[in-house]
């Protein structure tokens, strides 16, 4: 390397090293902590009094905890998309956003597990799942795939981080002592030697290959929690593909949102460029079209037949009680983002960010629509039960806990960005070198 590239790499390092929280950052973290604390308090109440603090009843026995769970699992698929699929397809422009994608994936899948434990009536009996498992149960399949995906995502986060840890250990003067200790603990053994690099890159490639089928499994198995029942709206052969395509969409939406925020806050315009938004915008459009296609299949086909149990359910969604939410999810979650991102102007960073936020919000409501309306249309009439079981609107405790879990996921991502470089430093430098070599 000549002197200009040393200076260049120093500049890159200086730009990409994790920075302390400014005023906005501190306020953001404080707000998240507050929401998390409130959620924890609500959970304490739930542990004390039982699940009756929620608005769930014998009919709507799954509420926003489960729809939150599905949402988290969905968003976690982004890791496999950006990191694995793009990497294997030799797409290099996505390198700056791979770590954002991975930390979203790890954080989301971790909180997915947490929210499932929150939903359990007897969380202290969690060990029963490992002492007396039934391999015939889709929940056991879900636990296995989630555990597997978590480990793979963690490794895909950690292994590419090793070269960056070396850089950060070298640049220790800006960080407090305990952080430096953490870096040394995690990566002091990394020398960047040829054989280390060979093994590491080989491992990353294997992980990238493995994560794709596991990612497909994770959301297919989650969809089977619903599709293995008889209920209208859930008894669909389409569910696996429908869920996976939705997951890719919301994951992509999450990534564009995060990359815009990080770009703005850490002034990373040179690394997350307009080109990245242009390309991710195209990816989101493609995925939105795909998800729209599956939605049409999922709703139009049963609506054509209007079988008795589905008739009431679909009418509720299209024109009834859930219609506002349904059309909101379709329009704001899919149609508007498509309309925005299909134009060149619409693929400017701010517009892409707006579309990303719309996708994510629409997706949250879509997951709610998958879980609750079906439960309000059982085969046998809703009679002979307490009045409050016949409808569902989450209680404040449920909202607190759900929002707490979302805040927790965001908190993990934020703290990660504080501790580790959110854009891979080493890969950026080597990427620049490759570009420079190509120019020569």
């Amino acid at each position: 390397m000549n002197s200009t590239s040393i200076a260049k790499s120093d500049k890159i390092i200086k730009d990409l090293l994790p920075k302390k929280f400014g005023r906005m950052g501190t306020i953001w973290v404080a707000c998240l902590l507050l929401i998390c604390a409130f959620g924890a308090y609500a959970y304490f109440l739930q542990l004390k009094d039982g699940l009756s603090v929620t608005a769930m009843g014998d009919y709507v026995s799954w509420g926003i905890y489960i729809s939150n769970f599905v949402f988290f699992v969905a968003i976690s698929l982004v890791g496999s998309l950006i990191t694995a699929i793009f990497r294997l397809a030799n797409i290099h422009w996505s390198t700056p956003i791979t770590r954002i994608a991975e930390i979203i994936a790890v954080s989301a899948i971790f909180f997915a597990s947490l929210i499932i434990i929150v939903d359990m009536g007897r969380p202290e009996r969690l060990l029963n799942l490992f002492l007396h498992p039934r391999l015939q149960s889709p929940i056991v399949w879900d636990v296995v795939v989630i555990g597997t995906y978590f480990l793979i995502s963690l490794l895909l986060l950690y292994l590419p981080l090793l070269p960056d840890l070396k850089i950060m250990i070298k640049n220790k003067n800006t960080e407090p002592g305990w952080l430096n200790k953490l870096y040394r603990f995690l990566g002091s053994f990394w020398q960047g030697s040829a054989d280390q690099k060979k093994i590491n890159n080989h491992s990353i490639t294997i992980l990238s290959i493995m994560i794709i089928p596991v990612a497909f499994c994770i959301h297919t198995v989650t969809s089977w929690l619903f599709a293995t029942t008889y209920r209208p709206g859930w008894d669909s052969t389409n569910f696996g593909a429908y869920f996976v395509s939705g997951a890719f969409l919301v994951g992509a939406g999450g990534v564009v949102t995060a990359m815009y925020v990080f770009r703005k806050v850490y002034k990373l315009e040179k690394y997350i460029t307009d080109m990245h938004f242009e390309r991710m915008g195209k990816a989101v459009v493609l995925l939105a079209f795909l998800y729209l296609y599956f939605n049409i299949n999922e709703y139009l086909v049963p609506a054509f037949k209007m079988k008795k149990p589905e008739e009431a359910h679909l009418t509720e969604l299209f024109t009834g009680h859930f219609a506002p939410m349904f059309w909101f999810a379709i329009i704001v979650g899919m149609l508007l983002p498509i309309a925005i991102l299909i134009t060149k102007q619409g693929r400017k960073p701010t517009w892409v960010f707006a579309a990303g936020v719309m996708v994510v919000v629409g997706a949250w409501f879509k997951r709610y629509l998958i879980v609750t309306p079906t439960l309000l249309h059982p085969f046998l009439p809703m009679q002979d039960v307490p009045e409050k079981f016949m409808f569902y609107f989450p209680s404040w405790q449920e909202w607190a806990i759900a929002m707490g879990s979302l805040a927790g996921a965001l908190l993990v991502i934020t703290i990660f960005a504080r501790i580790f470089p959110i854009i891979p430093i080493h890969e950026t430098i080597t990427g620049e070198d490759e570009n420079a070599e190509q120019l020569i």
Binding site: L51, D58, S61, H132, P138, I139, T229, P378, Q383, V385
Partner: protein
């Protein structure tokens, strides 16, 4: 499977018969109450005064009325009663929406107030078909969707056909509730409001008492009653004899007062099962509401009377 179980039964009966014959001259009796019953002798003998004034010795386990049997282990409760396949027949032409079945079941199982394991639905299959009252228990399906999805074996199908819940194992995931198409399961969303002495009793799957917070509950076909040779509480509490209960292997069902051959009853009255095409293979048969004893409106009057009672208190 015609294997060890059958031979052991054969052996026992043979043994029992021989014992009765050999010992009929002596004072000791194998099981003088029900010579074929397979109650295991406890070994403890009790001296009794016979009808003829003689003093005879009988094993304590054979005493009638059945003294409180010692509770079974969890493993035995999971396996169930051998040689039986319980079924229920509900005669819809007799149901008047009195809900005595619901009352008895809720009371005897100490179900949390407000929830019920038996629900009596007002049904009308189509716009022009007749409305009727349908008491709905757990169907104890032969291919139970709830058992298929339970992750921890907290609900299980026994060899006597009963699908039971182990409230000590249940983790409260409520997948079984989502999977059941008959909406028969209820969940203990809070600590069940039951008397303290009931709540402190040791729990047994066969009695389903006491119910526990954060776990699922449902109709259990009262296996504790059946082991004593009695009928489930809903069957004995219905004043109109709507519920028939029996063993399909015996081909006989009874509502306490009347007993019918099960196969004939279903054939003659065109019995059917709920949601047959879902393939769950329920154990509860319904007899269609023809030649009704009471008009449907009688059930509405009963409903109104109940509501008046409720508001009075």
């Amino acid at each position: 499977m015609k294997d060890e179980k059958d031979t052991s039964r054969r052996d026992f009966i043979g043994q029992g018969l021989l014992t009765v014959l050999a010992l009929s001259s002596c004072g000791e009796k194998a099981n003088p109450f029900h010579p074929g019953d397979e109650v295991k002798p406890s070994g403890e003998k009790v001296k009794l005064l016979s009808v003829t004034g003689e003093i005879i010795e009988v094993d304590k386990a054979y005493l009638k009325p059945v003294p409180d049997v010692p509770h079974l282990s969890n493993e035995e409760e999971r396996i169930g009663i051998p040689g039986k396949k319980f079924a229920m027949v509900i005669d819809l032409s007799r149901c008047k929406n009195l809900k005595k079945c619901q009352e008895a079941c809720n009371h005897m199982h100490h179900v949390h107030p407000g929830q019920s394991w038996i629900k009596v639905y007002s049904m009308q299959d189509a716009d022009h078909s007749a409305p009727y009252w349908q008491p709905t228990t757990c169907m104890h399906c032969d291919e139970p969707p709830c058992v298929k999805v339970c992750p921890v074996d907290a609900t299980f199908k026994r060899q006597d056909g009963i699908v039971l819940i182990d409230s000590d194992r249940c983790v409260g995931c409520r997948f079984c509730m989502a999977a059941c198409p008959y909406s028969t399961r209820v969940f203990n969303w809070e600590e069940p409001k039951i008397p303290l002495e009931i709540a402190q009793q040791p729990y047994h799957c066969e009695t389903s008492v006491p119910q526990k917070k954060g776990t699922v509950g449902k109709c259990d076909f009262c296996p504790d009653m059946v082991r004593k040779g009695e009928l489930p509480h809903c069957v004995s509490s219905c004043p109109n004899g709507v519920f028939f209960f029996g063993d399909m292997n015996e081909d006989s069902v009874t509502n306490g007062a009347e007993t019918f051959k099960f196969s004939e009853l279903i054939k003659d009255k065109a019995g059917y099962r709920l949601m047959e095409d879902l393939g769950t293979k329920p154990s509860v048969y319904y007899l269609p509401p023809v030649n009704r004893n009471f008009p449907y409106e009688a059930g509405l009057e009963n409903e109104a009377a109940r509501e008046k009672e409720m508001t009075k208190h």
